[in-house]
């Protein structure tokens, strides 16, 4: 028993009774070539951020160019790394690079070390390519902003932290990246600090994420007391040995962390507020990358969740609830970005559903995550382009008929629409259908809900499309919409290619990469037995999506949209507008009692504890109000009394010793 475990722990292998093939970890220096330069992925954006933060106004002229460079070079490096990784045999695609011992005391040791494997390279590609495009877009979007250089510093900081999050070789280092992206998100949501709403939204996002961090902290502690290590290899190798209660607790703690970061119910309330940040931030951080970190955490920890079926079921439940809740909110919001944020919640809900299915779904969670990263970034950049044209108006009720004046934006938005809605052969048609099939095979109810959510997706997307680009112009009098500059359009165009062809590429119709085969060695895969033919689900989904599109088009595309939001609406719409009243119950249940508690404690500290102290002091000294009078002359008298008391005490001790 113990020797078996020892050999497992030392080699870092995954036990043979699971579906994974044996993986070996290879150090970067052994792998050689480009792998020795993995550290540049982190170092370049970190360097960019440091220079731009410290250099100050001097770098205003060229700051954005440095920022773009520090994002684009890692993207090139990532592609090179992918090619190099593809050239290696399947079982030796886990490359680690050790830098230094970071936090170590006794048997606790978290190294500063990174790990590149088929899972992390997928994220690295997504982060650097989408991130690079959004950096380029931001050059145009933030051109007029006096703080553009600072904006790029923060974007670079975000890239460095996000790459650390997905490359970390242990959970504590992952926590560093996890909190780093949280910091970048805080800074960027509150980028326009002179706006009170932005400052409050930034704080709210950070504090709610901290609640999730409690989960991550506890998970790491549990891992250490259970396995004596927090390194991925050690933890995953020993996971099958642990008892299921512990694994369930670790799984639930990780889920809490993921729920906060990925804006899942009930910690989702910060995401809609976070739309106060500049739109490139919403696209990069609050759609394509950071908010999906929770999915990464769960899939990365698949060895733990495999041992914790209860935790997996909770993941599934959270995903189902958020999938519907997000879509519901997305259908009711009038601000374009907030509707998109609801959609993000809902799509990440899909990923949670997939992850909650266990080995049958991990791969599809990542698949959908990558697809979502492309089409949602495309949609958000489109929304930024629209807002740019409409004097920063966010409310779709003042848009309409924009297809005539912003043709490129309109077409790219359509591509995003096709990507998200699940119509074949575009992105979601592959990833979402895989999730629906996997869910149906395990649980009919979950399958039905995912199909229903596909209908809702089509509904809110059609509503956005119709209200923004079709119908009559409902613009403000001073709005003179125009197409955005080239630096903004090209990233949108490239991302729309991703939204259209991404799915075909990922399943191997174009090119020879198959995401399922690629990820299997890391995530494991068990094909779930489906009782109905696969195509029947596709047909049902297709019909539901078409119904959603047609019904919504009849409501918003064929009728006039009033500028003022109608007041006599269904309970459902009202709840959607109010974000399902989450803020209300958070306030009533947590914020207000908390405020009362702090106020009461302040009173108690001043009157209770300090009052008692003052009372005792006055009593002992017999000077009455002496302490509240502030003449220093009294201190001599106190000193005398004290010396007397001290002598008495010494005498007591002396007597005690004597007898």
């Amino acid at each position: 028993m113990s020797t078996a475990l020892m050999s497992l722990a030392t080699s870092g292998d995954i036990p043979s009774d699971t579906v994974e093939p044996i993986l070996t970890q290879i150090t970067a220096s052994d792998a050689g070539g480009i792998f020795e330069f993995m550290w540049l992925l982190l170092a370049l954006p970190a360097f960019g951020a440091a220079v731009l933060f410290v250099a100050g106004r001097r770098s205003n002229a060229w700051g954005h160019l440095l920022g773009v460079l520090m994002a684009v070079i890692p993207a090139g490096l990532a592609i090179w790394l992918l090619v190099a990784l593809m050239g290696r045999p399947e079982e030796s695609r886990t490359i680690t690079q050790h830098f230094w011992d970071w936090t170590f005391v006794g048997t606790f040791n978290a190294e500063f070390a990174i790990r590149l494997d088929p899972l992390s390279i997928v994220f690295v590609l997504l982060i650097t390519i989408v991130g690079g495009l959004i950096h380029i877009y931001s050059v145009g979007y933030m051109a007029e902003d006096p703080g553009r250089r600072l904006f790029f510093a923060m974007l670079n900081l975000f890239l460095a932290a996000m790459l650390l999050l997905v490359l970390a070789d242990n959970y504590l280092l992952l926590y560093l990246g996890w909190e780093g992206v949280g910091l970048a998100s805080y800074l960027l949501v509150g980028f326009w600090q002179y706006k009170d709403v932005a400052a409050v939204a930034a704080k709210k996002a950070f504090v709610m994420n901290r609640i999730g961090d409690v989960g991550l902290s506890i998970a790491i502690m549990l891992m250490f007391v259970t396995f004596g290590s927090v390194t991925f290899g050690d933890v995953f190798a020993a996971a099958p040995e642990a008892d299921s209660t512990t694994m369930t607790l670790i799984g639930l703690a990780l889920l809490l962390a993921a729920t906060g970061k990925s804006a899942q119910y009930p910690l989702q309330a910060w995401l809609l507020d976070a739309m106060e940040g500049p739109t490139p931030v919403s696209a990069l951080i609050h759609a394509a990358t950071m908010v999906t970190a929770g999915v990464y955490l769960i899939v990365r920890s698949n060895a733990i969740f495999d041992q914790a079926p209860v935790a997996l079921n909770v993941v599934l439940a959270v995903g189902l609830v958020t999938m519907i809740a997000g879509a519901w909110i997305g259908c009711a919001q009038d601000e374009l970005k907030k509707a998109l944020a609801g959609s993000t919640m809902s799509q990440i809900g899909y990923m949670f559903v997939a992850a909650g299915l266990g080995p049958a779904g991990y791969v599809f969670a990542i698949f959908h995550l990558v697809m979502h990263g492309m089409f949602k970034a495309d949609l958000f950049l489109g929304s930024g382009s629209v807002m740019h044209a409409m004097n920063e108006e966010r409310n779709m009720r003042f848009y309409g008929a924009l297809r005539g004046v912003m043709i490129v934006t309109w077409i790219t938005f359509i591509c995003g629409f096709l990507g998200i809605s699940g119509l074949p052969p575009f992105d979601s048609a592959f990833s979402k259908d895989d999730i629906i099939a996997a869910a149906t095979s395990q649980n009919w109810f979950a399958g039905a809900v995912t199909i229903f959510a596909a209908g809702l997706t089509a509904t809110y997307m059609t509503r956005m499309m119709a209200m923004t680009f079709f119908g009559k112009a409902r613009w403000h009098d001073d709005a003179h919409p125009h197409e955005s500059p080239q630096t903004m359009l090209w990233p949108m165009i490239i991302l729309s290619f991703g939204a259209i062809f991404g799915g075909l590429f990922a399943v191997g119709v174009i090119g020879d990469l198959n995401i399922l085969e690629w990820l299997k060695p890391v995530t494991g895969y068990e094909e779930a037995a489906l009782e109905v033919p696969h195509w029947s689900l596709e047909v049902i989904t297709f019909v539901v999506v078409i119904i959603g599109i047609v019904l919504t088009w009849m409501q918003f595309g064929m009728r006039d949209v009033p500028q003022a939001a109608p007041q006599h609406v269904t309970v459902l719409t009202k709840a959607g507008r109010e974000e399902l009243y989450t803020n209300t119950w958070h306030e009533e249940l947590l914020m207000r009692p908390g405020q009362h508690l702090t106020r009461w404690l302040v009173w108690f500290d001043n009157k209770g504890i300090d009052g008692a102290v003052r009372g005792i002091a006055s009593g002992i000294m017999g000077i009455g109000t002496g302490l509240t009078r502030t003449q220093t002359g009294y201190s001599r008298r106190y000193a005398l009394v004290m010396v007397g008391g001290f002598l008495l005490l010494v005498a007591v001790f002396f007597l005690a010793w004597w007898f």
Binding site: Q193, M221, V225, T598, V602, A617, L627, T632, Y638
Partner: protein, 516 residues
């Protein structure tokens, strides 16, 4: 003469020169800075010559007779724990002198009355440094006690003569609290002295000798508490904390930094240096009670901090919360938690210095400590706001900062011993984010306001004196090895004296059980 004695003497001589030789304020400041830098230079030499891998628990030991009849000697020496605090003290004093260059004049402007002389302020600062070093290097319990008591004098005058607001009240309150603590400790010291007579056939207060002394459980209980109470007041822990918010609220920024960042560490240092090694059984026996009080301190300090309207008092309450973490780390008896607690002492010192000095810059510009008097500062002083945020985030213990490493080690070490306590204490990280970000939001963000429109951004001196602090907290946040290498062996010694070991991982347990 040991290099340690030299290190303590330099600021002492400086204090005498600055205090008693006639000189202009500007000269006094420069001379004080030179002596502080001298002490720092010696500390750096000590740091480089200190051998962490040595088998001797104490290094640079010097043992000179003082009052042999009473068993009292002038003995100095340090271990890794003391060395870390020496780094903190000698590193901070020059920074505080430069950052507090105009502390006295600023306080006079607020009070609209004269404070004490400028050179007196800087002389007291050096005296405080000398005495603090004395405490960290003492190997004789009586010598420790003498420094512990005498240090009250410079602090009393620094608050009472040079502070603002209700400074006399705060100074007297500080004095009474500390004196009470000192009195209880002296009683304990007397008890220890009597016991040593029996054990060594004559009085002996030399710490390395005392470590070998067996003390019976009843005596351990009494002596443990007499020392612990003194240190708990100094640290300070709930419920004997109410002097700190008053003191930090009335002190000049420079004084507040030295008071909270350095002087308060004497309390937690004393617990590690005296309470644990001398009375190990009592320490283990009463650990659960102390852990409970530490956890109360953590949450109480944080919650009351959220409700504060005065910035300087808020910093006092934040520190009460952080001291809760340090005491928690000391008394759960795992190497992770204890190393974390020691590292936390350094981290807390640097983080408080950053926050108080940054707030000091802000308050000197407007002459108010009330949070509600501010708002929208970022629109007129972006560098000030940015550095204030950095200082705040260090106090949040954001990963990437030194404070994260220390706080996480305390938490994980606590979790090993008492999982529920560790898990519960982790909730405090949410409160930390709240008290800092609420403060930042209220003071710095929002639209430009008339009331704060006149606030100027930091000048070069103010900006660059923060650089070493910021660099230190970030560098050690990513690469804490230089400090952990010093701390870990010292903590191993302490754990050995206490007779505690880390609980093994449960999986290893199960496997071993399976073999039997």
């Amino acid at each position: 003469m040991s290099i340690l004695t030299l290190m303590g003497l330099i600021p002492l001589v400086g204090a005498i020169i600055v205090g008693f030789l006639p000189m202009k304020p500007s000269q006094a400041k420069t001379v004080a800075l030179i002596f502080a830098l001298g002490a720092m230079a010696v500390a750096i030499i000590v740091g480089f010559t200190y051998d962490p891998s040595s088998a001797d628990p104490f290094q640079f030991v010097e043992n000179t007779e003082w009052i042999p009849a009473l068993g009292i000697s002038f003995s100095v020496g340090i271990d890794g724990i003391g060395l870390i605090l020496i780094f903190l003290t000698t590193g901070l004093v020059p920074i505080v002198i430069i950052a507090g260059w105009r502390d006295v004049e600023d306080a006079e402007a607020v009070n609209k009355t004269k404070s004490g002389s400028v050179k007196g302020y800087f002389a007291l600062m050096l005296a405080l440094e000398a005495l603090t070093i004395g405490i960290f290097i003492s190997l004789d319990v009586f010598l420790f006690y003498v420094f512990f008591e005498v240090i009250l004098i410079p602090v009393y005058f620094m608050i009472g003569r040079y502070g603002t607001g209700r400074r006399s009240y705060a100074a007297v309150k500080f004095m009474i609290y500390s004196f009470l603590g000192g009195m209880v400790m002296l009683a304990g010291l007397a008890g220890l002295w009597f016991l040593s007579i029996e054990a060594f056939d004559g009085p002996n207060l030399y710490l390395p000798d005392l470590l070998a002394m067996e003390i019976d459980p009843t005596w351990q209980t009494w002596l443990f508490w007499s020392f612990f109470i003194a240190f708990a007041i100094k640290a300070p822990m709930w419920p004997v904390h109410t002097w700190l918010p008053d003191a930090s609220g009335s002190a000049t920024p420079g004084t507040a930094v030295l008071l909270i960042a350095v002087l308060d560490k004497i309390g937690t240092f004393g617990m590690l240096r005296l309470c644990l090694p001398l009375f190990p059984d009592a320490a283990q026996q009463f650990a659960p009670i102390i852990v409970a009080f530490a956890v109360i301190s953590i949450f109480y300090g944080a919650l009351v901090a959220i409700g504060q309207t005065d910035m300087k008092r808020l910093f006092g309450y934040i520190s009460i919360s952080h001291f809760g973490f340090i005491v928690l780390g000391i008394f759960v008896f795992t190497t992770q938690a204890q190393s974390g607690a020691t590292f936390y002492m350094l981290g807390h010192g640097l983080s408080v210095a950053l926050l108080v000095l940054m707030a000091g810059y802000l308050m000197r510009r407007k002459g108010s400590t009330q949070i509600d008097d501010y708002g929208g500062v970022v629109t007129v002083a972006p560098v000030l706001a940015g550095l204030f945020l950095v200082a705040g985030l260090v106090n949040v213990a954001l990963p990437g900062m030194l404070t994260f490493v220390s706080e996480f080690l305390v938490l994980v070490g606590t979790f090993e011993r008492y999982p529920w306590v560790g898990a519960f204490a982790t909730l405090a990280i949410v409160l930390a984010a709240l008290y800092i970000l609420l403060l930042y939001q209220r003071v710095m963000t929002g639209p430009k306001r008339e009331s704060t429109a006149g606030i100027k951004d930091l000048n070069l001196r103010e900006r660059w004196i923060m650089a070493p602090l910021v660099l230190a907290v970030i560098f050690l946040g990513f690469y804490p090895a230089p400090m952990l290498d010093i701390i870990n062996p010292a903590v191993d010694n302490t754990m050995e004296w206490v007779g505690a070991t880390d609980p093994p991982p449960t999986i290893a347990d199960a496997t071993e059980g399976g073999n039997q």
